[in-house]
């Protein structure tokens, strides 16, 4: 075998012994470092377990390895020194931990390394040029001092960092030294490793690194740059980190994924992942290609980070309730809001559904009940048509409706009679496509046949509600795509308005829409509105409806578009 292994062990000793046995029985010399925190009795038992392999498995001096501290580097140095001293003929040295599991036959790794005798596989990047560090300490790892443990004395750690920042204390780096960072797990050629360990500046560099934070991610990474002739900046150990910089664990159900990745060694493996350890014990899975391709596995872990950090837009559930502004999309998909159209044309919702292919609901915020499409009493997601339940849910009713309706474009009618709870929400939602015929509420009043005098109060109330809603739509916070016509403008050119709303809500729909339904009879509407004016209630939102119909046709005014403010 042309390479040896240094293994750092601190817990799950039975699993570690299994891995060591695997390396050794494939012919690799192994030096084991056991954390000094492991009790003596346990260590001796562990050592005895591996007694039968004593020609190839050696134990080096023990150090206390605390996360983020110098001990891990010291342990690696001791292990590497012993290995190189006792097995001088090695080509490479592989640094692994007790929870790193070789998943391909060791012979394949051996062949891979033998074909690249001068190459050092060590991830090593300039500190300033990678976004890896979590928690805000990147360059400062090298310029501040870290005498306190991050895990056990976090308060002191943080205070001491803050103090040094305030005082502007900076350590100076050893002369001619540039820090690099990368994965702790490397595979260096014996020549490079020897050069690092016998660096003439080593006492000074070691002294310096004793107070660097997480030196195991930078000591060998920096020194390899100094001594290596050919650095391949990647680790042969596949290790994935989550958004907090903590390694992902692999479980039995990852096995197919690990096989496809073709990685030589994977970490960390959950100690009880029996199938993965069995896979190793049976000699590993031979890969189709010589080189590992971890990109195949990356997607799965990138998705996990995306889910944890950004979540699914428009979803509100037991583990996701974003603060206002952090929703990453108030709703899950684009939807249409039509205000006043259904009041002017009988059979409008059915027509719009046919013309757009969307699911077109009635007034889902009506005070009596939720008017789901097709008169349903229960709708997708088992949403109830109870107005009380809906009002209790607040904005969640709308977000649920859009979430449950994913796959089909949702459209609903809205107006001043309805609960206005979501008025601002839809105005601010870039997913909303809103079309308003202002003053259309006058038409049902007119058609009710009741005298204007009895309807004045109601009309005034509806007009006030609609005015407030329009103020939301015209506010600088409005991000929806919004079109507003007055009733008079709409009546001048209804077909154009409908075509615009169709293209907003169902863009790219082929073919001309079916003929729109007939307008409800409006003869006498102008007189009705004038009567209201005479009673002191001015319906200004309707626009200028002529008192004596029908007026000769004039060129249609252009609808105006309320531009969302960036």
């Amino acid at each position: 075998m042309s390479f040896g292994v240094v293994i750092l062990v601190h817990n799950a000793l039975d699993r570690a012994a299994q891995v060591i046995r695997h390396w050794a029985s494939a012919g690799c010399p192994v030096v084991v470092h056991v954390d000094r925190a492991v009790r003596r009795a346990r260590f001796e038992r562990f050592r005895e377990d591996l007694e039968d392999l004593s020609d190839r498995v050696l134990f080096c001096a023990r150090h206390r390895c605390e996360w983020g501290g110098w001990g891990i580097v010291a342990a690696t140095q001791s292990g590497a020194e012993l290995l190189l001293e006792r097995f001088p003929g090695l080509g490479h040295v592989y640094l692994a931990s007790g929870s790193c599991v070789p998943l391909r036959p060791v012979a394949e790794l051996d062949a891979y390394l033998a074909a690249r005798p001068r190459t050092d596989f060590i991830e090593s990047a300039r500190v300033t040029q990678v976004p890896w560090t979590v928690g805000g300490l990147s360059e400062e790892r090298f310029t501040l001092r870290f005498p306190f443990s991050w895990k056990r004395r976090r308060w002191l750690f943080d205070r001491y960092v803050a103090l040094q920042r305030r005082l502007g204390v900076r350590r100076s780096l050893p002369a001619g030294f540039e820090p690099y960072m990368g994965s702790q797990w490397w595979c260096l050629s014996a020549a490079t490793l020897r050069a690092i360990l016998s660096d003439p500046q080593r006492p000074e560099i070691d002294r310096y690194f004793r107070r660097v934070w997480i030196p195991d991610e930078s000591y060998f990474q920096s020194l390899a740059r100094r001594w290596s002739t050919h650095i391949e900046s990647r680790s042969l150990t596949m290790c994935k980190f989550d958004f907090q910089g903590k390694p992902h664990l692999f479980y039995d159900d990852h096995l197919p994924l690990l096989r496809r990745s073709g990685c030589f060694v994977a970490r960390k493996i959950w100690p009880r992942a029996q199938a993965i350890y069995d896979e190793m014990a049976t000699g590993g899975h031979p890969a189709d290609e010589a080189a590992p391709s971890p990109a195949r596995i990356d997607r799965v872990f990138a998705e996990a980070t995306e889910r944890r950090v950004r979540g699914r837009s428009g979803l509100y559930m037991q583990s996701r309730l974003p603060n206002p502004g952090w929703e990453n999309g108030f709703t899950a998909a684009p939807y249409g809001v039509l205000e006043g159209f259904a009041e002017l044309q009988d059979g409008f919702t059915e027509w719009f559904a046919r013309a757009s292919g969307a699911t077109v609901h009635g007034h889902i915020f009506a005070p009596e009940r939720v008017e789901f499409a097709d008169g349903a009493t229960v709708w997708r997601g088992a949403m109830s048509d109870s107005a009380a339940l809906r009002d209790h849910q607040g904005p969640r009713f709308l977000t649920n409706l859009i979430w449950n309706g994913r796959g089909a474009r949702q459209v609903f009618q809205f107006g001043p009679r309805d609960s206005q709870r979501v008025s601002w929400d839809i105005a601010k939602d870039p997913n909303a496509r809103i079309g308003v015929i202002s003053g259309a509420w006058a038409v049902p009043l007119f058609r009710s046949g009741r005298p204007a005098a009895r309807l004045c109060d109601l009309a005034a109330r509806l007009q006030q509600v609609e005015a407030d809603h329009l103020a939301a739509l015209r506010s600088p916070q409005a991000k929806a795509r919004i079109r507003v016509w007055t009733l008079a403008e709409f009546l001048e050119a209804p077909a154009e308005a409908l075509a615009l709303m169709l293209s907003d809500i169902a863009p790219g729909r082929a073919g001309p829409p079916p003929a729109p339904p007939a307008m409800v009879p409006l003869d006498g509407l102008g007189r009705f509105l004038q009567e209201m004016r005479n009673l002191g209630m001015h319906p200004y939102l309707t626009g200028d409806i002529p008192i004596e119909p029908p007026a000769p046709r004039r060129p249609a005014p252009r609808p105006y578009l309320v531009r969302p403010h960036a």
Binding site: D253, M383, N400
Partner: protein
């Protein structure tokens, strides 16, 4: 949070802990096997009354997930369940005839048992009709989850209650002792839940589902709460405040993300609506031992006279946890 508010919550937590200490006197030990609890064991804590029919499946289910020991309070069962429980090698059993209501619906008893035996363990507090589902529960034991939570320094794990119901009238299909209740009650409401945040304790308040839809459509405010935090790395200083809906200290209630992300969470499949439910509802109404003057059971009793069917056209049939995740009811978060 203001200092005085923090201090008041601290006092409240101490009060619940004292109360648990006082209420421990109501428990008399039937089978104490707590010496068998090993340091890394996951514990299940439960209070029950007359649930004999469900017990075999309940124990099967949680043993298969890898639960190490069960701490059970039997509140005066008369159906032979106590004998069954006492015979289980991994069950420690206490019995009480005292008032369920005055033990704050069993919370005081379980707070005591968790404090006495649960310190340093992952404790899962569930009712006998609640089955925990978590990401990858079909391929990874519960220990995988708790190890990961430990590694991530997470102390509590949320699992919303998901009401399951059969198709057809509730009592139409007979449930035999030992059967998987999910064979009968396998339908649920996929998307009609509302959430809000409790300002005092910081937990979510979730309502909805078939109970809100069928029994509380006119009075949604009183619909039962579905948010639960059943799995906690227990410390003797912790205390459940109201059922497993919320805890103190209140940092444990933050099982949801406020900045747009999704945290890892599970679900409690609630198989309450089985054959025998109507009888139980009538009995519970008579005993008046439930929350809010048994308002929930009053609503049931009224509705049950009319042989209700909870199933509707948009009910979803339960398949597995992945389905629940796709529907947006739970999430893997960054556990993968």
């Amino acid at each position: 949070m203001k200092a005085w508010q923090a201090y008041r919550l601290r006092l409240q937590r101490k009060r619940w802990r004292l109360r648990a200490l006082r209420k421990r006197r109501e428990l008399s030990v039937v089978a104490d096997r707590t010496d068998k609890i090993r340091p890394a064991d996951i514990l299940v804590l439960t209070t029950l009354r007359n649930e004999n029919a469900r017990l075999p499946h309940f124990f099967d289910y949680y043993r298969r997930l890898g639960v190490g020991h069960f701490l059970v309070v039997d509140n005066g069962s008369t159906d032979g369940g106590a004998e069954y429980l006492a015979a289980q090698e991994d069950v420690s059993l206490w019995r009480t005839e005292a008032s369920y209501k005055r033990a704050r619906f069993g919370v005081d008893w379980l707070n005591w048992l968790a404090r006495r035996h649960g310190h340093g363990h992952w404790c899962l507090t569930v009712d006998p009709d609640e089955l925990l589902v978590y990401p990858f529960c079909d391929t990874r034991p519960l220990k995988a989850l708790t190890d990961w939570l430990d590694a991530s320094s997470i102390r509590s794990f949320g699992a919303m209650l998901l009401d399951l119901y059969p198709k057809g009238p509730i009592g139409a299909q007979a449930y035999e002792r030992g059967d998987d209740p999910l064979d009968i009650a396998c339908w649920f409401d996929p998307g009609n839940y509302s959430l809000s945040r409790n300002a005092t304790y910081g937990n979510l308040w979730i309502q909805g589902g078939p109970r809100a839809r069928s029994f509380f459509a006119d009075d949604p405010e009183r619909a039962p709460a579905l948010n639960k935090i059943p799995l906690v790395k227990w410390d003797r200083r912790f205390a459940y405040v109201s059922s497993t809906h919320m805890l103190l200290p209140r940092g444990l209630n933050l099982v949801f993300d406020e900045w747009g992300g999704e945290k890892t969470c599970g679900m409690l499949l609630h198989t309450k609506f089985l054959d025998g439910f109507s009888d139980k509802a009538r009995e519970e109404l008579r005993r008046r031992q439930h929350y809010a003057a048994s308002a929930e059971y009053k609503a049931y009793a009224a509705a049950l006279e009319a042989e209700p069917e909870l199933w509707c056209r948009w009910s979803e049939r339960y398949i597995n946890w992945r389905q629940l995740e796709v529907l947006g009811l739970m999430s893997r978060g960054n556990w993968t």
